[in-house]
Subunit: 220 residues, 2 copies
Amino acid sequence: MNIGIIGAGNAGRTLGSALAKQGYSVMLGSRQPEKLAEWVQIENADNPSIFVGTFSEAAAFGELLIHAITGRKAIEALNLAGETNLDGKVLLDVSLPIDFTEGRMTLFTQTGESLGERIQSAFPGAKVVKVMNHIAAGVMVNPNRVADGDHDLFMCGNDAAAKQAVSTLLTQAFGWKRIYDLGDISAAQATEGLALLASRVASVLGHGMMNFKVSQSTSS
Amino acid sequence: MNIGIIGAGNAGRTLGSALAKQGYSVMLGSRQPEKLAEWVQIENADNPSIFVGTFSEAAAFGELLIHAITGRKAIEALNLAGETNLDGKVLLDVSLPIDFTEGRMTLFTQTGESLGERIQSAFPGAKVVKVMNHIAAGVMVNPNRVADGDHDLFMCGNDAAAKQAVSTLLTQAFGWKRIYDLGDISAAQATEGLALLASRVASVLGHGMMNFKVSQSTSS
């Protein structure tokens, strides 16, 4: 399967590298693809399956798309990717609506909305699936790094088949074990807020190699 | 220790009953204390240590206070409790700024603020400690009901001694094992948002006897 990644920052590169190692053909889309030349040359040394291009080229290339742009630039980047390149495709969205303008992490979305919903609304033809938004990139692609993989993913989106495709990808490519389907894309209001909690907990731990797990009663 | 509980709904009564069973003297404060007569008579049958009164009487009675009023009524109830009755005291706050006015759970606070901060700001003499806000009352007082107690609390507040007092109470009275101190009361922005996630997860599980646990790398 060809995967297009919109965004070549830390999350985009980490996801792209890990997916290529699992045999997927990956194109990383960047505003300035020429700046990725050295990185991709090293990545492709023993595994020539990562390509680089513009946002638009990556979006056209991918049968499944990953959105890994910093939240403030999300809509703009997806517009550059091109609505027709998104139409009908799964858009696995790991972006966060966060700001540090007040000296600490806050959400730039308002109560009762989310970035996932904004993206779905701006690109109604895309099948947005929000997942992993608060998780460090190194954990996204290797959940076993944390507690032998004993922690959970929260996923949401309006399209059941798209969520199934994402679930299959994350299980097969990275080894995720439990993925909670929280419902439609409005559940992004709940998962995006986890960024605030993860940031505080990471400060206590002294590192970000963490995630959350649902603990439940065995007999409720 | 005398504990005053502002609010005699499900959370207030559950907390009061459990604390009384652990030997604390408890006064439950209600807008209509006479409505609690039958409940308290049953509770006190073999353990006469629960009293009932007005918000103001409960606040005056308690050396440590618990705030368990539904979010929309929080400031009003605490005003009835009386600022002078709160001054200098620990105020363990389990309230949530949630609404169902749009047909689903949303927060009525805005981005970048929280109910915990509103309460601390309205009553600067109180030592507000936010904790357990998203947890079912039956789990608050008996964490071992869920995964043998293998899940976590997130706590925040501006006063270190107050957080230590709350931590000690929750450990000794209810058996909580791990309590993450997330910092000052602004971390309530992170913990109150957990209500949205817990609600979605509970829908998937089919019950609310759950909580979250931090999973972390053993060697980061």
